[in-house]
């Protein structure tokens, strides 16, 4: 791609990204409710539109028509900034995600780095939202979210560094191009490291934990902390946290797809394109939802133990092993 900035393309892409995030989130909410419904032997939404498809739009309208109540004792600025800190980085991450070979807003060489740079801002939003609310539940939740994010960022980044060593690039599109069919997907490249499937698992688990999804949803554990960091948020304040969460789930799953499952490439080497990418991502998202409606919540200690005692050692070992394999072969 040419290196000079194509302003109309970028603006158009950003608008498209925002539209996609909103649309995607509303569809994911619908999907989540349907998945939850069927797992729980219910029907789920069915009244608004065909199969209840427009339910999320109705909910969105309701949220938008509600007053944004700012609690009296809260830090007004932080309180209002926090949802944006969750939402804006999530949208910015979409800029570098290759939906297909050409469908990418900015195909830059450090795409992977950009995503992680933006992803690490997310936790700041949760912390400030919790702190700014001046609510004890929210503060506890914010503290939980930070310790959780820090703990899981390490194995995740170690795994990503391993992947960079293997792929030798941070350009997401190039990574995808290296995986033309199912035998070249990095999850099955056992000659690069025999632990590749494990690395995928670590990455996936970490991305679930990073996005505060069950069974790692300690931050918004509703039976304990009411709603966690967004307890005090009403209307679209809450809505933005909600959108941000789904956007982050999407980004986590698309990164897993790009790094391990061949991105927009077809498993058979024919008809590559955006549909493959979406299919893979939504399959992963379905797994995320499936886990949420199946497992109990972990405890904070259980969560941190998993990270520090299991995931980090394994991912470090994998890093060393991969380095050795690269050197030897």
């Amino acid at each position: 791609m040419n290196e000079s900035i194509n302003i109309p393309w970028l603006v158009g892409s950003l608008v498209a990204a925002i539209a996609f995030v909103a649309l995607n989130a509303s569809m994911l909410v619908w999907l989540e409710r349907k998945v939850a419904g069927h797992i729980q032997r219910r029907i789920g939404p069915k009244e608004v539109g065909p199969f209840g498809l427009f339910q999320s739009f109705a909910d969105g309208l309701k949220l938008m028509s509600k007053q944004l109540i700012v609690p009296e004792c809260s830090d007004r600025i932080l309180f209002k900034v926090a949802p944006l800190l969750v939402m804006v980085p999530a949208i910015m991450s979409f800029v570098v995600i290759p939906f297909s070979e050409n469908l990418v807003a900015r195909n830059i060489n450090i795409g992977l780095l950009v995503i992680f740079a933006f992803a690490s801002v997310n936790v700041l939003g949760l912390l400030l939202g919790g702190w700014g609310s001046a609510n004890k539940y929210a503060v506890i939740s914010g503290a939980r979210a930070v310790s959780q994010n820090v703990a899981y960022e390490i194995p995740m980044l170690v795994t990503v560094v391993t992947m960079i060593m293997v792929t030798q690039t941070m350009n997401l599109n190039e990574i995808v191009l290296q995986q033309p069919d199912i035998f070249h997907w990095y999850i099955f490249r056992l000659n690069a490291s025999p632990l590749m499937p494990v690395a995928f698992l670590i990455f996936f688990v970490c991305s679930m934990a990073e996005t505060n999804r069950a069974p790692f949803d300690l931050g918004e554990a509703e039976s304990e902390l009411v709603a966690g960091f967004h307890t005090e948020y009403a209307g679209m304040g809450f809505g933005l946290f909600f959108l941000g969460e789904y956007a982050n789930v999407f980004i986590g799953c698309s990164l897993a797809t790009i790094l391990f499952l061949g991105g927009w490439q077809s498993p058979f080497g024919v008809f590559p394109g955006v549909w493959w990418f979406l299919l893979k991502v939504y399959t992963l998202i379905f797994v995320v939802m499936w886990a949420r409606w199946t497992f109990p919540r972990t405890t904070l200690y259980g969560l941190l133990n998993l990270s520090w005692k299991i995931l980090i050692p394994i991912s470090l070992f994998n890093l060393v092993l991969t380095g050795v394999m690269l050197k030897v072969f």
């Binding site: 939850a36 797992i39 729980q40 032997r41 219910r42 004890k136 539940y137 506890i140 939980r144 069950a214 069974p215 949803d217 300690l218 554990a221 509703e222 039976s223 304990e224 902390l225 009411v226 949420r292 409606w293 199946t294 497992f295 109990p296 919540r297 972990t298 405890t299 904070l300 200690y301 259980g302």
Partner: protein, 578 residues
């Protein structure tokens, strides 16, 4: 040597006078100054000691007519002790004059006395010397008067018209404020402010309106302070203005998940007082319905407990199963949660045609589901990690704090009133009493799940062996009487007329009956003054004792563990506050 002689030999015959009651429980009047000594002896030194303070309550005796042979006094304090070794109860009464309504606190003997004494103070105004925090427990702190006294109005129409002025509203608001200094704890330690986290009265994890304030160090619970009474509906006071018959629907709502089970405890006491024997068919219908409600309660508990530890789906499954169960209840009773179905002397109606099919389908259906839940919940590693070793109590602690039911059996102690003191026909049925070791949240879960299976076994036997015959006694006090013969002989017509217009006149006397209810031991202590309404209704509920243990169970754990503990002990606030 029975316990009465033993006490009289030791403490002298003057201060200890036996009293006859309708139940077989030995009842003794004790001189006030002997109380700490006698209680200490019974708990500690007596052979086969009375280790549990089962209940502590009071009676306002001032307008009672039938008190022959009882010592004079305006109020009576009643200690109800339970000995597991003897399988016997003991009731100790202390007469108190209106001029000096005070007694020595027995918290040093039984920590569970704390709430019971506060309740006696709240309801009757009896002061307990040496109590660390004698304050209102069920009524709001600014309440005037003591509700269970006979001169306190029971109806809103007996009181001034209600108005809510701004000052009053402010007062109510202030009454809800948590003030650490009232509990004798510092607001800051070493210059650092202590974090108090308030959960409730409205909180998704508290299972009904009650409040826990936890003192936190990080997320670790240093101590917990409980505030109950938000669900208080004056069930005991209502008993004093409803006829023996019309009080039955009120009992349904005490443990509102137990439904019919509450009818059972109340009516067994009434029938014992009136001397009514229930016919076999009536007995078995009662047992079958009661066990259905035990399953219903345990299903709700199962789902909500798992939801408390964060799994969102099982609650829908168990509620779904409960709906199938309610189909049977609806077919039999016409209502779901509060069927108000038992009557004095039997049940309201005979079983409907086709009930066998409904019950048989359910018996075939539920075991499969339970197996699935075992795989989904009890064998789930995350669930185990969340519940094993959490909130454990020892058997000694459980007995000290008055714990009964599944929570007691989770401490590896086989004690079930259905087995130990078979009532209402349970001696005819085969079932096991499940127990578990370790007394933690997981053990409590294991016991309850196994109890569902045992209840299914009992229901199966009821189904196979349901006898023919009347479903209600022909005793004249059975209410409403069997209609069949009213138009044929005048005696039955008169009984019917009196029973329906006045309500049955139950002979004067006292009686207590305990059952193995859904959550533990539920008991009704009834006093009749020979009228159509009870003179005093005391409801001993299991949850009251269990909830009181929460601080002990949760100290040193974290907030998520507190939720697991709350879920695991299975209480409803209706059962705590009555």
């Amino acid at each position: 040597m029975d316990i009465i002689e033993e006490l009289q030999n030791r403490f002298g015959p003057d201060g200890i006078t036996p009293q006859a009651t309708r139940d077989a429980i030995p009842t003794l009047w004790i001189a006030p100054d002997l109380v700490p000594g006698v209680l200490g002896y019974l708990k500690g030194q007596a052979e086969r000691p009375y280790r549990m303070l089962y209940d502590l309550t009071a009676i306002d005796e001032r307008v009672r007519v039938h008190r022959d042979g009882q010592p004079a006094g305006d109020f009576t304090l009643v200690y109800h002790l339970l000995s597991f070794e003897r399988n016997e109860d003991l009731r100790l009464k202390v007469a108190l004059g209106e001029d000096r309504l005070a007694a020595k606190s027995v918290i040093s003997l039984w920590p569970s006395a704390n709430w019971y004494e506060r309740e006696a103070w709240d309801m009757f105004g009896i002061a307990f010397e040496g109590h660390p925090r004698l304050s209102r427990i069920l009524m709001p702190p600014h309440w005037q008067g003591h509700p269970l006294r006979k001169d306190h109005p029971a109806r809103a129409t007996d009181m001034e018209p209600f108005t809510l002025s701004e000052e009053k509203e402010e007062l109510e608001e202030q009454a809800l404020r948590f003030r650490p200094e009232e509990w004798g704890i510092a607001k800051s330690v070493d210059g650092k402010e202590v974090l108090f986290l308030n959960l409730g009265p409205q909180h998704p994890g508290t299972h009904g309106p009650f409040r826990i304030v936890v003192e936190l160090d990080g997320e670790e619970i240093v101590d917990a302070f409980l505030d109950i009474g938000f669900h208080h509906r004056g069930a005991e006071k209502m008993g004093e203005r409803q006829s023996w018959h019309t009080y039955i629907p009120y009992t349904d709502r005490v443990d509102y998940l137990g439904g019919i089970m509450n009818n059972f405890a109340y009516l067994l006491a009434v029938e014992q007082l009136a001397g009514i024997e229930v016919p076999d068919r009536g007995k078995l219908i009662r047992i079958m319905m009661a066990e259905l409600f035990r399953i219903s309660n345990h299903l709700v508990w199962y789902g909500t407990f798992v939801m408390d530890v964060g799994a969102m789906s099982p609650v829908f499954f168990t509620f779904n199963d409960r709906e199938r169960l309610f189909a049977i209840v609806k077919a039999v009773c016409g209502a779901r949660m509060h069927p108000n179905w038992f009557r004095i002397g039997g049940v309201a109606e005979d079983l409907p045609r086709g009930w066998e099919g409904l019950v048989r389908d359910f018996l075939a259906y539920l075991p499969r589901r339970l197996k699935e839940y075992d795989r989904m919940v009890l064998k789930n590693r995350l669930f185990k990690a969340r519940t094993q070793g959490i909130g454990a109590i020892t058997l000694e602690e459980a007995v000290e704090w008055g714990v009964t039911g599944p929570n007691l059996r989770a401490c590896d102690f086989e004690w079930d009133f259905r087995k130990k003191r078979p009532y209402g026909g349970y001696d005819q049925l085969e079932f096991d009493v499940p127990t578990a070791e370790r007394g933690d949240c997981y053990a409590r879960a294991l016991v309850r799940v196994e109890e569902i299976r045992q209840s299914l076994r009992i229901i199966g036997q009821c189904l196979d062996h349901m006898p023919d015959g009347p479903y209600k006694s022909r005793h004249p006090l059975a209410t409403p009487p069997l209609k069949g013969r009213t138009m044929h002989d005048i005696e039955t017509l008169i009984d019917h007329f009196l029973g329906v217009s006045w309500g049955p006149v139950v002979p004067a006397g006292e009686c207590f009956h305990a059952i193995e209810a859904t959550k533990g031991s539920n008991g009704y202590y009834l006093i009749s003054d020979g009228g159509v309404i009870p003179y005093r209704v005391r409801i001993r509920t299991p949850s009251f004792a269990h909830v009181q243990m929460l601080p002990l169970m949760s100290r040193g754990f974290m907030i998520p563990d507190l939720m697991a503990i709350i879920g695991s002990i299975d209480f409803v606030m209706g059962d705590v506050d009555r």
